[in-house]
C-alpha cells in the first residue's frame, strides 16, 4: 500500500488502482477451453467443405479422359458404350432414370411418412407411438442388399399381377403404358422398394418436427374450435413445412444414390421412357456404375466416373433447389 492511496472509510479493503481494469480484462486467455472448442468447431466446418471439394476434384480428375475424349474413341474402347453417341447422350438417359426412380419413390414415400409421423406425434397413444417409431427406425437398419434380394425375389412376383392390372385398366396413363413385364422387375417395383428404404428417415425427421410444434399454436387452433385434423392443418403442417421439405430431401438423397437395390431388381435399359411397368426401359447412374465397373477398362472407368460426376451435380442441384423453396416463404416460417 502506497502513501498516495486515499484512505477509505470503514473496514473494507482499500482497492488498489487498476484492480477493476485487471479483473475485467480477460487475463486467462482460454478459460474452460472455449477458444479450443471454437477452433474445433470451425475445423469441423472447414473439414466438410474440404471433403466435398476433394470429392469434386477427384471426380473431375478421373473423369477427365472421358470428358475430353472423342465419342468415337469411347465407343471403340468400351464394349457397352453405344455407337454414334456423345458422352452427354450416354449420361442423359441415366440421369433421367435416376431422377425418375428417385421422384417416384419420393412421391410414394412422403405422404406415407407424413401420415406415420402425424399418427405417432398427434394421434397414437404414447406407448403405441414409441413402439411404432422403433419399428420404423428398424427399417433403416436393414442393409440395401437385403432390400434388393427381397425386392427381386419376393416382391417382384407378388406385385406383378398388380402392375398387370394397372397396365390393363390404366394403360392410357403414360406411366402405366407399354408392355407390362411378366417378371415384375421394373421401375415401379424399384420405386416401391426405394420408398420403403427412404421411409424411415423421412418419418423420423417429420415426427421430430411435428413434435416441436409450439403447444401455444396448437392451443390457439383448439380454442378457435378446430378439430384434431384442423389443428394439424392450421398449426402443425404450416409450422413443419420446411422440416418436411428437408426430410424429403434427405430421403431423395438416399434414393438418388441407392445402388444395390436397383441393381438387383431392375431390368435395365437406356431410354428416355416414362413407362414404369415395362422391362428394359431405364437405368440409374449408381446401379449402372456397379454393373459395369468390375469389367471396365481404363476408358470405361473414366466414363463411369463421369456419370458419377453427373450424379454429384444432380444431388447438389436438388438440395439447393429445396433450400430455395424453403427460403422463399421465410417470413412466414415462424422462425421470426
Amino acid at each position: 500500500m502506497t502513501s498516495t492511496q486515499p484512505r477509505t472509510a470503514g473496514p473494507t479493503e482499500p482497492v488498489k488502482p487498476g484492480t477493476t481494469a485487471r479483473r475485467l480484462r480477460s487475463g486467462h486467455g482460454d478459460r474452460g477451453g472455449s477458444l479450443a472448442f471454437r477452433w474445433l468447431a470451425t475445423g469441423a466446418g472447414i473439414l466438410i467443405l474440404l471433403i466435398l471439394a476433394a470429392v469434386a476434384v477427384f471426380l473431375v480428375q478421373r473423369a477427365w479422359p472421358a470428358l475430353t475424349a472423342d465419342p468415337s474413341e469411347l465407343s471403340d474402347a468400351i464394349s457397352w458404350f453405344p455407337e454414334d453417341t456423345s458422352l452427354l447422350g450416354f449420361v442423359g438417359p441415366l440421369i433421367f432414370g435416376t431422377l425418375l426412380a428417385a421422384a417416384v419413390s419420393l412421391l410414394l414415400a412422403t405422404p406415407i411418412a407424413i401420415g406415420i409421423a402425424l399418427f405417432t406425434s398427434h394421434y397414437a397413444p404414447r406407448r403405441l407411438a414409441s413402439a411404432l417409431g422403433y419399428v420404423v427406425d428398424l427399417l433403416a437398419a436393414i442393409p440395401s442388399v437385403v432390400y434388393g434380394l427381397w425386392g427381386g425375389l419376393v416382391l417382384s412376383p407378388i406385385v406383378q399381377p398388380v402392375w398387370e392390372f394397372l397396365g390393363t385398366y390404366l394403360g392410357w396413363i403414360p406411366f402405366f403404358g407399354g408392355v407390362v413385364s411378366p417378371t415384375g422387375r421394373v421401375m415401379m417395383t424399384v420405386a416401391v422398394v426405394l420408398a420403403v428404404m427412404i421411409l424411415p428417415i423421412i418419418t423420423a425427421i417429420c415426427r421430430e418436427v411435428f413434435l416441436q410444434t409450439p403447444r401455444l399454436h396448437e392451443e390457439a387452433a383448439l380454442a378457435l374450435g378446430a378439430t384434431q385434423w384442423e389443428v394439424v392443418r392450421m398449426a402443425v403442417l404450416p409450422f413443419a413445412r420446411s422440416g418436411i421439405v428437408s426430410a424429403a430431401m434427405l430421403g431423395l438423397g438416399r434414393a438418388l444414390g441407392e445402388t444395390m437395390a436397383v441393381l438387383m431388381i431392375l431390368s435395365p435399359g437406356f431410354l428416355y421412357s416414362f413407362q414404369l411397368l415395362a422391362a428394359g426401359q431405364q437405368q440409374t447412374i449408381a446401379a449402372n456404375i456397379a454393373a459395369q465397373f468390375p469389367e471396365a477398362n481404363q476408358t470405361g472407368v473414366a466414363t463411369l466416373i463421369a456419370t458419377g460426376l453427373a450424379l454429384f451435380i444432380i444431388t447438389l442441384a436438388v438440395n439447393m433447389a429445396a433450400r430455395a423453396i424453403v427460403a422463399r416463404r421465410k417470413d412466414f416460417s415462424g422462425a421470426n
Binding site: P214, A220, A223, L224, D331
Partner: protein, 259 residues
C-alpha cells in the same frame, strides 16, 4: 350474444390428482369477471374448463356442471369442438399463427366454420374485427404481412381480433397482459372495457390493480398447500372484494400479507 355461465359443484382432476375442488359460481353476462389468487391455485385450470380446453391434456377430467344459458357443457351429447367455437379464448402469451398473414389470422376461426366466405365479406370481417380489437389503424396497410412481425401488444390484440371474429358468446382471457408492457396493457384493458358491452368476459390476472380496474366481479382462489386442491374462497362485486372482503384469506392476499 353474451350469456350467463352457472358453475355447480365442479371438481377438476389431472388423472388421480384433484386440482380444483368444489367450485360454485355464477358469471354474469355483459360484465367482466376477474379470477385472482396465488400461482398454482387452479384459476387458469378452472378457466380452461369453461371452454373444455382443460381436457386436451391427457388424463384431465371434471365432475360437476358448467352451464351456459342452462345447457351443460359437459353433457353427453355436447361436442367440445362446438363449445370452443362459442367460448373464445385469449392466452397468456400472444400466439398468432406464424405461417399466416394478419388478415388470415383474423379469419382463421371463421374459415373453420364457414369455408366459403366471399372475399368482400372476408375483408369486411377483418376490418370489423381489427377495429373491435383497436388494431385496425396500426395494421391496415400491412394485412398481408405475417402476424409474427407485430409487437407483443399488437399480437395480443390480433389474437383478440381472431377470437371475436367468430362472434363467441363468452371470451376467456388467461393473463392476457402478463407478457406485455404497461402501454400495451392499457390498450388491452381499454379494449376489455369496450368488449364487455357485447361479451361475457372472464379474465385471469396476477395483477390486482388490473382486476380492480377492469372487472365488475372478482373471484379469489386459494390453495391450502402443495398437493392440495385449489378452492374458490370468495366471489363478490369487485368493489366489495377490494374494500371489505368477507374472508380473512382474501383480505390477507389483497393487502399483500401473503402470496
Amino acid at each position: 350474444m353474451a350469456q350467463r355461465i352457472d358453475v355447480k359443484d365442479l371438481n377438476i382432476y389431472y388423472g388421480a390428482f384433484k386440482a380444483v375442488e368444489d367450485v360454485n359460481m355464477t358469471i354474469e353476462p355483459r360484465s367482466v369477471t376477474a379470477f385472482i389468487g396465488p400461482s398454482g391455485c387452479g384459476k387458469s385450470t378452472f378457466l380452461r374448463t369453461l371452454n373444455r380446453m382443460h381436457e386436451v391434456i391427457p388424463g384431465a377430467r371434471v365432475e360437476g356442471t358448467v352451464a351456459v344459458e342452462g345447457v351443460d357443457l359437459y353433457g353427453a351429447e355436447i361436442d367440445p369442438v362446438a363449445v370452443r367455437r362459442q367460448v373464445g379464448m385469449v392466452f397468456q402469451r400472444p400466439n398468432p399463427f406464424p405461417t399466416m398473414s394478419i388478415a388470415e389470422n383474423v379469419l382463421a376461426g371463421v374459415r373453420l366454420n364457414n369455408r366459403r366466405i366471399s372475399k368482400g365479406d372476408a375483408n369486411d370481417l377483418v376490418e370489423a374485427s381489427l377495429r373491435g380489437a383497436n388494431l385496425w389503424n396500426e395494421v391496415k396497410d400491412r394485412l398481408d404481412r405475417p402476424g409474427s412481425g407485430l409487437s407483443g401488444g399488437q399480437q395480443q390484440r390480433l389474437c383478440i381480433a381472431r377470437a371475436i371474429a367468430v362472434k363467441p358468446q363468452v371470451l376467456l382471457m388467461d393473463e392476457p397482459c402478463s407478457a406485455l408492457d404497461p402501454i400495451s396493457t392499457l390498450a388491452i384493458e381499454d379494449l376489455i372495457a369496450e368488449l364487455k358491452s357485447e361479451y361475457t368476459i372472464v379474465i385471469v390476472t396476477h395483477n390486482m390493480q388490473q382486476a380492480a380496474r377492469v372487472s365488475e366481479r372478482t373471484a379469489f382462489f386459494n390453495i391450502a398447500g402443495t398437493g392440495q386442491p385449489g378452492k374458490l374462497i370468495e366471489i363478490d362485486d369487485t368493489a366489495t372484494m377490494f374494500s371489505s372482503p368477507k374472508e380473512q384469506a382474501t383480505e390477507d392476499y389483497i393487502s399483500g400479507r401473503f402470496g
